[in-house]
Symmetry: D2
Subunit: 89 residues, 4 copies
């Protein structure tokens, strides 16, 4: 069982909203919207993606990493490396 199982519908709803934002961005470019407005939308989509990521991380630490520790598996390094990539994204 994945850690994000409980919030699966919420995660999916967020991702569908982000997909809509990215499609909206294409429409903005197609209709020659103003650069700064497009940048604002990109920032919003990127923030929304990061929010999903932080939520998944919370679940992952709470469930997978904890359970791993009980079973003697170290899953912290892997999680921290994902955090590091995210911090630089």
């Amino acid at each position: 069982m994945r850690g994000y199982y409980a919030d699966k519908d919420d995660v999916l709803a967020r991702l569908r909203r982000i997909e809509g934002q990215v499609r909206g961005l294409q429409k903005m470019v197609e209709s020659d919207a103003y650069c700064i407005d497009i940048l604002t939308q990109i920032t919003a989509a990127s923030n929304a993606l990061k929010k999903v990521a932080v939520g998944l991380l919370d679940d992952h630490i709470r469930h997978c990493v904890m359970q791993g520790a009980e079973e003697g598996k170290d899953m912290v390094r892997e999680a921290t490396e994902a955090i590091e990539r995210l911090v630089k994204a």
Copy 2:
């Protein structure tokens, strides 16, 4: 004429690829993919969005801001504020 006009097809192709990444993320969540793999994909999509943003900024400074300056309009502050939001996204 917008600054990104010349690269419009390239920008649209990138955004369509990002839309595909976000749809792929939904499939990953639906099929209970491993959290860390989902996080890696989110990082990739966020990086791709930022890359589009930086490209738009380049065009915007090169065309709109420069042309604005010639016409006595200061468009630098607006561009810098967009950069600041992006840096924090």
Copy 3:
């Protein structure tokens, strides 16, 4: 006992190096260094700070959060909120 106790000397050495980078930045500004070179140095200092943060997070999850869980304390939310602030920094 703090989670970062084992690496304390390493963390301190990194922070002293970052302090040196920030002092170097002041010298660059005082001597009218080129803006782009200053920006490159700021990026390096910020990256070094984030690297310290990710290392502390690794230790924190590994020790404090795990130990908290054993004692029935939920310290995940607090850690995730720190990650969220860091991701946006």
Copy 4:
């Protein structure tokens, strides 16, 4: 003349404050402060560094890049590359 010349005192004051924050971080680690409090301070220092960077960028675009354009030099690419590194820092 550098673009940030006018704000030089302000930039220096900010950098000295950041140097103080980084020294404060060393004291926190030396006195075994709580990980999350240290992370909060790192986030603050990183945010302050980025704020200096965005200010320098504003001046740089406003002065150097504009003046470069008048002299037929393209300095936009160089500025955008600095922005890209900053966005990922």
